[in-house]
């Protein structure tokens, strides 16, 4: 009995493991149905504010559990859920061309480039390697070296090796830059669960589920990023504008007699979270941009309409009166040197002149944008200003797990565009060893830059790429030579990102779409339905066949196959694999192939029985002797699966993956699980087990 107990546990554990791995998928499916319901209600809502409120309530109620279920759910591939798959490639040849000094380019260089471009069209080889080979062949015999064509002012003792090194670095940076730009754009466009990754040294592959407006998306992917320098105008004017929005919205909801705005609780929670964090953050206090510890300074204000009210009521009234400004936190920098920024409340309409700062929780951004995009609010916006968010969340908060973004009011018209930048480099400040970025400009840019910096001393200028702010340094002095230094980065990584962003002006390596696949939602649904139908019918057919042919043994095999398929789904889900249509084909094929192992075993058992062996020894022999054949047949298929996974692209990999996981599952369920089940049954004193063998053994 003890021997059998182990086997029972083994079978039970396998079943539980399969179910546990599948549970998140089931849960996510349920929650997504609830979400669909909320979306339907949100779409039916009268105002954009209402629909946002409905979606926020979903997020509050189910957001976290949906997220965690989704993380370990079996994801559907693009061919099933619909969407866009794109491969982009950086034009490295163009990059080389742009990097060469314009004045030096001659016929020889052009010949080299032409050959390189021609080859680049057809082969996979590294473009820089190809360029160098062609250069050796064409230009070197004519007495040219790379130094004849490339001139990097800031590199000493320029040699051919250093030029090659620089070109490679440029290529790396060009792809990182494209990656950063694309990430921000996709994020801004609002694609749910995009997958963007680098492939090799010059390609980016993107999976964008649910994208239907393809033309727009292609434009988004292929337009070159625009780098601009804009003056930061976080001033009294914009704060007054925010205050006007508050009044406008509060009046409107008062007139309607009902609260149409979001229930306040989410934002209160957000605000207290933020202020508490600030309190806790003692180290940040030393920093110039740190926020002051939140105090109740608003009580000191003489015009405070909330004076005398109990704190809770005052807070509630404040939130109701400030439907817009309660979404973010405003700070004011007092004019004294090294003064701490003070939180600003919109309780009075009197705001001092000076520098302000705005921080908003990521969760409040949709609401913020929704209000800002209303036509009546847009109309109130000061004409020469525009709002831009920082590209990345505030590092200090991110460390604590809260995503807070700064946003700025910028002068709409750019002071300077990025094409004047000739180079940028992340480095360390020799005086204090802190990360910084140096930036060089061409002569025209330098001249204008000196005027701009001269006129805006102690003011902030934002580095804006694609309407996202990457840095907003304060001008310390008039910069005349065109070489600027930007300091204040939190770490080297941030400095490197800024370097890449600044180079958007200097590096001109456009990306091209070299592969594009779009699956419409209707085909995706059809494919799911077809795949599902085929799988069910195939499963029923195989199960019936096995039962009729091998009797009880067939039932055990059927159980093993069903378990195998469940394990296959479960393992795919926990490996983070995606289910594609060829993947479903792989599963159906596994259905057919998995019974192969059982067929081998049972045929062997039948043979042994026909030789007159006892039931028990026939079963033992059947399993043992069939093992090598089972291994053979599965190993060879596994090898081809591996090759397919390595060479195939996209959906084919989905097929290879299910094939391989299915094979491992087959070996386990057929050899271990079905044997355990048969032995458990036999252990209860049975002397016979039906493998569909003839009842009477004929001996001739």
């Amino acid at each position: 009995m003890k021997k059998v107990l182990g086997k029972i546990i083994l079978v039970a554990v396998t079943i539980i493991a399969a179910l546990a791995m599948l549970y998140p998928t089931y849960k996510a499916y349920n929650l997504e149905n609830i979400q669909k319901d909320f979306v339907r209600r949100a779409k039916a809502a009268k105002t954009s504010a209402d629909s946002l409120a409905i979606m926020e309530s979903f997020k509050k109620q189910y957001g976290e559990s949906l997220q965690s279920a989704k993380n370990s759910q079996l994801k559907l591939g693009l061919d099933l859920r619909g969407g866009m798959y794109v491969t982009l490639e950086i034009d490295v040849a163009r990059l080389i061309e742009e990097t060469a000094s314009k004045e030096q380019i001659d016929d020889i260089f052009e010949a080299v480039m032409e050959k390189t471009k021609e080859q680049a069209k057809n082969t996979e080889e590294d473009v820089i390697d190809m360029f160098l080979k062609n250069f050796d062949k064409i230009a070197r015999p004519k007495g040219k070296s790379l130094i004849s064509y490339f001139d990097f002012g800031n590199i000493r003792d320029l040699s051919d090796e250093k030029i090659v090194e620089k070109l490679r670095k440029d290529q790396d940076e060009a792809i990182d830059q494209a990656l950063e730009v694309l990430r921000q754009r996709i994020d801004k466009y609002g694609v749910a669960e995009p997958n963007i990754q680098k492939q090799g040294s010059a390609r980016i592959i993107m999976e964008l589920p649910g994208v239907s407006n393809v033309g727009e998306m292609r434009n988004l992917l292929q337009t070159t990023a625009r780098l601009e320098f804009k003056l930061v105008k976080n001033n009294k004017q914009i704060v007054e504008y925010f205050n006007r929005i508050d009044k406008f919205l509060a009046n409107k909801s008062a007139r309607l007699g009902s609260v149409t705005e979001t229930t306040a609780d989410t934002t209160i929670a957000a605000e207290t979270a933020m202020t508490e964090e600030t309190k806790a953050d003692t180290t940040a206090a030393a920093d110039t941009t740190a926020m002051a510890s939140a105090d109740t300074t608003k009580k000191a204000d003489t015009t405070d309409p909330y004076a005398g009210l109990p704190e809770k009521e005052a807070q509630e009234k404040y939130l109701a009166d400030h439907p817009f400004t309660r979404l973010f936190t405003t700070y004011f920098f007092p004019p004294q040197k090294n003064a701490q920024p003070q939180p600003v409340y919109y309780a009075s309409s009197q705001f001092p002149e000076g520098e302000y700062m705005f921080k908003v929780l990521e969760d409040s951004i949709p609401k913020f944008n929704e209000i800002m995009n209303r036509p009546e609010i847009k109309a109130m916006m000061p004409a020469d200003l525009s709002i831009a968010f920082e590209a990345n969340p505030d590092k200090r908060y991110e460390e604590q797990g809260i995503r807070v973004f700064d946003f700025h009011s910028l002068k709409s018209e750019a002071e300077l565009t990025g094409d004047v930048i000739t180079d940028a480099m992340a480095t360390y400040d020799p005086t204090n060893n802190l990360p910084m970025v140096t930036m060089a400009m061409n002569s025209d840019g330098s001249e204008r830059w000196s005027k701009i910096t001269g006129a805006n001393l102690q003011k902030r200028i934002a580095v804006v790429l694609d309407e996202r702010v990457y840095s907003a340094p304060t001008v310390q002095s008039k910069i005349t030579g065109g070489n600027s230094q930007i300091t204040g980065m939190a770490n080297a990584e941030e400095a490197h990102l800024l370097e890449i962003v600044l180079k958007a002006g200097a590096l001109k390596a456009p990306v091209q779409i070299i592969e594009e696949r779009i699956v419409g939602p209707s085909l995706g649904e059809d494919s799911i339905r077809n795949g599902f139908t085929a799988a069910i019918i195939a499963a029923i057919a195989v199960v019936l066949f096995m039962f009729f042919y091998y009797g009880n043994g067939g039932l055990v095999a059927d159980f093993a196959v069903v378990l195998n398929i469940s394990l296959l789904f479960g393992v795919l889900a926990s490996l983070g694999g995606t289910l594609t249509l060829p993947g479903i084909a792989g599963i159906i094929l596994t259905l057919g192939m998995a019974v192969d192992a059982n067929v081998l075993i049972y045929e062997r058992i039948r043979e042994e029985l026909a030789r007159g062996r006892s039931m028990k020894s026939a079963i033992d022999d059947g399993f043992n002797k069939a093992l090598s054949a089972i291994l053979d047949s599965n190993i060879t298929t596994f090898i081809t699966g591996l090759i397919l996974y390595y060479f195939g692209s996209g959906t084919i990999q989905g097929f290879a993956l299910t094939l391989m996981v299915g094979i491992i599952g087959t070996l386990f369920t057929a050899i271990v699980v079905s044997r355990a089940i048969i032995e458990i049954i036999m252990s209860r004193g049975a002397t016979h087990f039906g493998f569909g063998q003839k009842k009477v053994v004929s001996n001739n």
């Binding site: 082969t123 696949r517 077809n530 159906i588 259905l591 057919g592 081998l600 081809t640 084919i652």
Partner: protein, 314 residues
């Protein structure tokens, strides 16, 4: 239930017939390749493919005239799975699907939906083609190494001959079916995936038969080579048929219900699995006999005649 009891089919005597059969199919395939050049999918050639569905009946001529008015000439239009679903293929890249959609929307009283779009640059297409060749080649090499470990030289050679036979046979069938217009089959990634899977799968039958040959050679010492093969194939026949049957069932289901996207894949696999089984019974063993007779110059035939005469007497 049992389809086959103890069978005693003579698989080896008519071996030349089977070889002629296989060679002729492959030869016809080759001829077809010249008459109707193999069609590669855009995966391998580059180009654009747009699948559309119409709400009402329409024929290819209407579609062609609608899109050629919009400036898209030389489009290849064929049916895509279900009724009123079409696949439009053009060599241009760029915003073709927008042009096509706009053009088709002008057709009155017929709503058009874009099902899918594939656009492959020529360079990527070339790379994929290269990778596909490489993958098929590598998988055969991998099988060769595996078999090298498992069997002695002649048997390994027999298995590889059967394998290469399978690949050529399947491609020939694709070419013939496509050429005769029975089915619209082009060589693309999923066909290559199917062929690779066939390579991995069909070797099994051969391995299992040869395994049994090895076992029987020990247990029936001094047995005539042809008798040995017949015995082994017969003993494993039930297993061979049954496993292939389950896979064939699933593939037929996939072909019938799996939808247009999987059609080429399922068909190729189906043919491949059947051919793989056929070759492991009729080609692999017979190659070993052929090798012994023609290369090693062993006279098997006279001994075999004596064996058969002996069997007849009993």
């Amino acid at each position: 239930m049992q389809f086959f009891g103890k069978t005693n089919i003579d698989f080896v005597s008519k071996r030349n017939t089977w070889v002629i059969f296989s060679v002729s199919i492959i030869a016809i395939g080759l001829i077809f390749a010249f008459i109707f050049p193999p069609k590669f999918g855009i995966d391998f050639t580059g180009g654009s493919e747009v699948a559309v569905a119409f709400s009402e009946n329409i024929n290819t001529n209407d579609i062609r005239s609608a899109i050629s008015e919009a400036g898209i000439k030389n489009a290849e239009i064929k049916s895509f799975g279900e009724a009123n679903q079409y696949l439009i293929r053009v060599s241009e890249l760029g915003d073709v699907q927008v042009t096509i959609q706009n053009a088709l929307e002008k057709i009155p009283n017929n709503k058009v939906t874009i099902l899918k779009v594939d656009k492959i640059g020529a360079k990527i297409g070339g790379e994929m083609r290269l990778q596909a060749y490489l993958a098929v080649f590598l998988s055969i090499i991998a099988m060769l190494i595996y078999i090298g470990f498992r069997f002695e030289f002649v048997f390994g050679l027999g298995a590889i001959v059967a394998l290469v036979h399978d690949v050529f046979f399947v491609i020939s069938i694709i070419l013939i079916f496509n050429g005769l217009g029975i089915m619209d089959l082009e060589i693309n990634q999923s066909i290559v995936a199917a062929i690779l899977t066939v390579v991995g799968y069909s070797i099994n039958d051969t391995v299992i038969i040869f395994d049994r040959v090895r076992e029987n050679r020990v247990s029936h010492k001094g047995i005539h080579l042809m008798k040995l093969f017949n015995l082994s194939v017969n003993e494993t026949l039930s297993r061979t048929i049954n496993t292939v049957l389950t896979v064939v069932i699933t593939l037929v289901v996939l072909l019938t219900f799996g939808g247009p996207v999987l059609q080429g894949f399922s068909f190729t696999m189906l043919v491949g699995i059947l051919v793989g089984t056929y070759s492991s019974i009729f080609i692999a063993s017979n190659f070993v006999i052929f090798y012994n007779e023609k290369i090693k110059k062993i006279d098997l035939e006279s001994g075999w005649a004596a064996e058969k005469a002996k069997a007849a007497k009993v």
